[in-house]
């Protein structure tokens, strides 16, 4: 594949983009023209037949959630890397094992640090 061929290869994607946009616009427009409009309070709620709304969702959230979410992302990445590594483990051999141990050691440093600093405690 020469670099000059690249733009043509993207043509199907451009077509899909336009088709998707057209589908959404046309179906929304068609719905708007055809359907009867009789709104009332319960119907306008974000979740019809759901639990009643008691406050605005855009309230302040404790910092704690943010820290926990960050830690989750960090250790989730670990598993993301472990999976493909496990698949090709045999081909990588000892070298791959050592590499992964180094990677895990660095993560454990982070884990230890977070633990000791009390990031895992809720209060």
């Amino acid at each position: 594949m020469t670099p000059d061929a690249v733009p043509q290869n993207y043509l199907p994607i451009v077509i899909i983009l336009f088709a998707a946009a057209a589908f959404a616009i046309v179906s929304l427009l068609a719905g708007m023209l055809v359907r009867p409009s009789r709104p009332y309070q319960a119907k306008l709620a974000p979740y019809e037949s759901g639990a009643p709304i008691f406050s605005d969702a855009r309230s302040r959230i404790p910092m704690r959630y943010y820290v926990i979410a960050m830690l989750f992302v960090i250790f989730d990445i670990e598993t993301v890397f472990l999976y493909p590594w496990a698949v090709v483990f045999k081909e990588l051999g000892l070298f791959g094992l050592i590499e992964m141990l180094v990677f895990l050691a660095i993560l454990i440093v982070g884990y230890f640090y977070a633990w000791k600093k009390g990031a895992l405690e809720w209060d």
């Binding site: 670099p3 690249v6 990588l92 070298f95 440093v109 982070g110 230890f112 640090y113």
Partner: protein
């Protein structure tokens, strides 16, 4: 199987030491009692000393590392020696300064070492993604360090601003890298160079990629128009972090900037030289002119650091051996004077606060003649008056410009260096020709000088660097000239 040889690990020994001890400090820090935290400083200083020796031992060697993704070469070694030295001085400075500011010393050293290892990766990477990785490791540590004065608004603002703008610029840089990869089929500098050979010189995607890379690196070296963050971050961050930002992060970013543009995009020089020429002129003009109206010394030094980035960029505009050596020399010399100037700023205390307004320098010569004398030395060096380091740096940059038939650019730069004399010499005027205020509310009243052995050591090294390298620049010039990119 991944090609790997034990020699590769030896080639990155200094990086491994810095990175390893950085991680180690994160483990030791929570286990150390509050009154023993100073030991962490000695551990990091010892690690830097060992890394410096290891790097010095690798001096002059040249070999590709990790299948060419990384490289050990004199160019990288030059920068790494400079960066390790600067990090050591900043740790010494911070030891005294953070205590004054009542900032926890714990993680600080770990972050200095981790960001240093990022910088070292950045200056030796020969693959755009490795360089990007180093850049992020450096930047993320710096974002955190900028907010180390957690309870002060300005510091938080600095950290948040730097983080948001920094992420944006990283994104732009990555976009540029992805376009280059799409066009040339490689992220390795040598692969990009080979891929460019088959492309027309005015390929639009290539031009766009180049512009995006200039934006990404321009942000990190604070070139106009990507400089907006610099004054706010420099003002808000603790002064020892500001010194580190102004010196080490700028030097490392310039090192990667020059390597990427010379090694990968060297073949299409004509395309980016004009762009960088404009950026360089804008940076010199804006940095020097806006610095004049500043009343806060840290903001003034921030604009001065922008202006100096403009001078250093001339070396990259010239884009030949003399230009690259000029950039290396300029930033190495700039490191000493800027570090020195920020160190003097940390010494001025006004009650429990830092005396970071220019008026706090009023009559400093009467209060402490040594601090004033050193500040005088750093200021005339920043202006570029002989026999100081600043003059030598400018001399080689301007000579490179003249050698490349850009005499008018050198003349313009000299004119703006003359403009800069106004605000640098104003500090000297304020220190020497005004009496310190005696009553409350007058300028210079209630300012005291705090010195500790560590700060004096940093000042002596900086002053020695400015004077010795200003008078006998030969060894450094030779080192830079023998370390330019092949």
């Amino acid at each position: 199987m991944i090609p790997f040889s034990p020699g590769d690990l030896l080639a990155i020994l200094p990086e491994l030491i810095v990175m390893g001890v950085g991680c180690l400090l994160l483990v030791i820090d929570p286990l150390t009692a509050e009154d023993r935290k100073e030991r962490l400083v000695y551990i990091s200083l010892a690690a830097l000393a060992v890394a410096f020796i290891a790097q010095y031992w690798l001096l002059g060697l040249r070999r590709p590392v990790f299948s060419g993704l990384y490289v050990l070469d004199p160019y990288g070694t030059f920068w790494k020696l400079l960066l390790i030295l600067v990090a050591g001085l900043v740790i010494l400075l911070a030891k005294a300064h953070l205590k004054l500011e009542a900032i926890d010393l714990g993680e600080f050293n770990a972050f200095i070492l981790l960001s240093l290892s990022g910088m070292m990766v950045m200056v030796s990477g020969r693959d755009l993604l490795v360089i990007y990785l180093g850049l992020e490791l450096m930047s993320i540590s710096l974002y955190i360090m900028a907010g180390f004065k957690r309870f002060e608004r300005r510091s938080m603002e600095a950290s948040a601003k730097y983080f948001i703008l920094g992420s944006l610029s990283s994104g732009i840089l990555l976009y540029g890298i992805s376009l280059l990869y799409g066009r040339t089929g490689s992220t390795m500098l040598s692969g990009i160079k080979a891929g460019l050979a088959g492309l027309p010189p005015h390929d639009p995607i290539l031009l766009l990629a180049m512009i995006l890379l200039v934006v990404g690196f321009g942000f990190k070296v604070s070139a106009v128009p990507f400089h907006m963050w610099t004054p706010d971050v420099y003002e808000g961050a603790p002064t020892s972090v500001t010194a580190y930002l102004a010196v080490a992060s700028k030097a490392a970013s310039f090192a990667a900037f020059v390597r990427v543009f010379m090694e990968a995009l060297g073949g299409v020089k004509a395309n980016w030289q004009v762009l960088l020429l404009i950026v360089s002129i804008a940076t010199m003009v804006l940095g020097n002119v806006v610095a004049i109206v500043q009343t806060n010394i840290k903001r003034m030094l921030a604009y001065s650091s922008i202006a100096h980035a403009g001078y250093a960029l001339i070396g990259l505009v010239v884009a030949d051996a003399a230009g690259v050596a000029g950039v290396m020399l300029y930033l190495a010399l700039y490191a000493f004077m800027t570090l020195g100037a920020f160190t003097v700023v940390t010494m001025l205390r006004k009650g429990g606060l830092e005396g970071d307004e220019i008026e706090d320098f009023t009559g400093l010569a009467r209060r402490n003649k040594w601090a004033a004398l050193l500040m005088l030395l750093f200021m005339i060096s920043l202006t570029g008056i002989p026999p100081t380091a600043g003059f030598i740096g400018k001399l080689y940059i301007f000579m490179a410009a003249v050698g490349a038939h850009l005499t008018w650019l050198a003349v313009l730069a000299v004119i703006f260096a003359a403009v800069s004399a106004y605000f640098y010499l104003r500090i000297i005027m304020v220190m020497y020709m005004r009496e310190p205020g005696e009553t409350a509310g007058t300028p210079g009243h209630n300012v005291r000088i705090v010195a500790s052995p560590a700060i004096i050591a940093v000042l002596l090294v900086a002053a020695a660097g400015v004077l010795v390298l200003g008078i006998f620049p030969d060894p450094l010039v030779k080192a830079a000239q023998s370390a330019i990119l092949p």
